[in-house]
């Protein structure tokens, strides 16, 4: 195959891997909004927190994947109380939750800055093999990340649509008051969903840490992208978030062959505005947001 085609294939692959990570993050965002009406501005910072914690815990525990598991529990322990004691009074009021989560975002960023420092650092991937795909050498770690992301997305789907706890979560998305009236302990569901959403972001952060640079501001770019994804996909639509993430990120990847990163972001932004003009609730959205 010719050189330009190979480049495009490579960029498309990168876009897809990145898209799977963004899908995890956007799925968490959509879940949290769907169940609680929280616009989580701190979502990108939970992604950052995952990466920064992995940076510290990886060498400490001597094992990247062990670090991943520990980070999961750490983030769950942070996220649970945040939902229960900080965000609970504002739920259902998107503006108020947004302001509150901005506060949380500042706190997380500054804590990371204090603990980690302002300089972006590189982290070594735990697996350095590379594969030849259609004549392009592709780092194996990224393929592994893609595989794990697909597994996690599948697990979340299985959980939501094939388990009894998942039915409770979906019932709370559908109609929270009615779910409460049916005797579902919605308080527990709320904490659980928020933790699940945050953990999804943190997992993406841990896995992205060796691919990108770890810095205390790494969450802002990702938050921007995942917000565009949930807006285009339709707020609260889970499948919409995943599909849009994959499509938008591959598109951005391919666009970066001809445009600078900022230009391709601007192109995605123009696309978002166009879609919003045509469909104010996003492509897959139906619920009142």
């Amino acid at each position: 195959m010719s050189e330009p085609v190979l480049t495009v294939v490579f960029l498309l692959m990168n876009g897809l891997v990145w898209g799977l990570l963004v899908a995890l993050i956007a799925l968490g965002l959509a879940l949290i909004f769907g169940v609680m009406g929280i616009v989580n501005m701190a979502h990108g910072d939970l992604y950052m927190a995952g990466a920064v914690l992995a940076f510290f815990l990886g060498p400490l525990l001597g094992h990247f994947w062990l670090g991943l598991l520990v980070v999961l529990f750490a983030i769950a322990l942070i996220a649970g109380p945040i939902e229960r004691y900080v965000l609970r009074p504002y739920e259902g009021h998107p503006s108020a939750t947004m302001i509150a989560t901005v506060g949380i975002s500042f706190i997380l960023q500054q804590l990371a800055l204090a603990a980690y420092g302002g300089i972006p650092k590189k982290m070594d991937p735990p697996w350095t093999a590379s594969f030849s795909l259609l004549g392009v050498d592709y780092p194996g770690y990224r393929l592994l990340v893609a595989a794990i992301s697909v597994l996690i997305l599948g697990a979340v789907w299985f959980f939501l649509y094939r388990t009894s706890m998942g039915i409770l979560v979906r019932a709370s998305i559908e109609d929270r008051q009615m779910a409460e009236a049916m005797g579902i302990n919605t308080s527990r569901i709320l904490v659980f969903t928020f933790v699940l959403g945050c953990v999804l972001a943190a997992v993406a952060g841990v896995m992205a840490a060796p691919v990108t640079q770890v810095s205390y501001l790494m969450g802002t770019d990702v938050a921007l992208l995942s917000f565009i994804v949930v807006i285009v996909g339709g707020l609260g639509s889970l499948a919409g978030a995943v599909i849009t993430a994959l499509v938008l990120c591959s598109l951005e990847g391919v666009l970066s062959a001809v445009l600078t990163p900022v230009q391709s972001k601007a192109a995605i932004f123009v696309l978002m505005i166009t879609i919003l003009m045509l469909r104010p609730r996003g492509i897959f959205g139906q619920r009142n947001g």
């Binding site: 900080v86 009074p89 104010p280």
Partner: protein, 314 residues
């Protein structure tokens, strides 16, 4: 709590605040004076924001766009077009107006959550573009500008004289306050409040809610542009940093502390936050951490703010 009482409290507070500012310009030492100048500029920004959040309940996260656009409107028209100071400030105002119309058309018809997120995305994209287009904005380093004389028909005054600078900003604050007060006292303002209190009912009463929301958004964006322009004039400098998210969050905090929907209540918020920033950032590098905690505390404590609380007590 009677209506008369409430208006009287509001009037006496606003006039008192302005009167104190008028006198302070003559007596303050230079360090404190520049702080007060900054407070006055940001008061314009806060009032503009209050029109959006306090009066029509549109929680915009994109006002840094208008603030930055106003700043660059002034700086670029001074640098390229060699305009006078007053025309340049009007250019800043115009920049806010010209940006808020299309952005408002896109966003005001969206529902609450979409509005919040889309305005946040808009400001993030503008920040990225401003950082990237260094030929226009100077990027993170920004653009410095030397100010022409302020020509008032008969006399030419140098803005480098601290008193002229102070009273230029003071008059801008006063004019913005009077114009905005007049708009809010007019039927237009009553419709804004009606939309805030019950959007569905306003719709059923036959008001074109989207149009009024757009009007509020544009008024808000225009005066944010003016505030950005004034800020650039007082610092003689504009940078891409003015488009950053931080500048979208600040007006929310000012309005929440001072009191939403009171127009002048946010002045107290600006004053407290500026003092806070000035003193706390001096001894604590991670003062944004405290800022974050403060946001949570203020939001939890009261949705009405200081002036709103006093008014409710009558």
């Amino acid at each position: 709590m009677s209506w008369m009482n409430k208006t009287r409290l509001d009037k006496s507070y606003s006039l008192g605040f302005l009167a104190v500012l008028l006198v302070l310009g003559l007596v303050l030492p230079s360090g404190a004076r520049s702080l007060v100048v900054q407070v006055m500029v940001l008061c314009v920004f806060a009032m503009a924001y209050d029109i959006c959040l306090g009066f029509t309940d549109q929680c915009s996260l994109g006002h840094s766009v208008f603030f930055g656009a106003g700043a660059y409107g002034v700086v670029l028209s001074l640098l390229w077009l060699k305009l006078g100071l007053i025309p340049a400030l009007l250019a800043g105002l115009l920049a806010g107006l010209l940006l808020s119309v299309p952005l408002g058309i896109v966003s005001v018809r969206l529902s609450e959550a979409y509005f919040v997120i889309v305005t946040a995305i808009i400001s993030a994209i503008f920040h990225l573009l401003a950082m990237d287009m260094t030929w226009l904005t100077g990027g993170d380093d920004g653009l410095s500008v030397s100010l022409p004389k302020l020509s008032l028909g008969m006399v030419d005054l140098s803005v480098y004289d601290p008193h002229t600078n102070y009273y230029l900003v003071f008059v801008s604050l006063l004019l913005s306050y009077l114009v905005l007060r007049r708009i809010l006292d007019a039927p237009l303002g009553k419709v804004f409040v009606c939309i805030r209190e019950n959007e569905k009912r306003a719709l059923f009463l036959g008001y074109n809610v989207e149009w009024y929301k757009l009007a509020a958004f544009v008024i808000s964006g225009t005066f944010s542009g003016l505030a950005g322009g004034l800020y650039a004039v007082t610092l003689r400098y504009a940078s891409a940093d003015y488009f950053s998210f931080y500048w979208s969050i600040l007006p929310i905090v000012w309005c929440l502390i001072g009191g939403l929907g009171t127009l002048s209540g946010c002045w107290i918020g600006v004053l407290l936050m500026c003092l806070f920033q000035y003193y706390v950032s001096a001894w604590f590098t991670h003062y944004l951490l405290i800022f974050g905690v403060l946001i949570l505390v203020v939001l939890r404590a009261s949705r009405r703010g200081i002036i709103g609380y006093l008014m409710a007590r009558g």
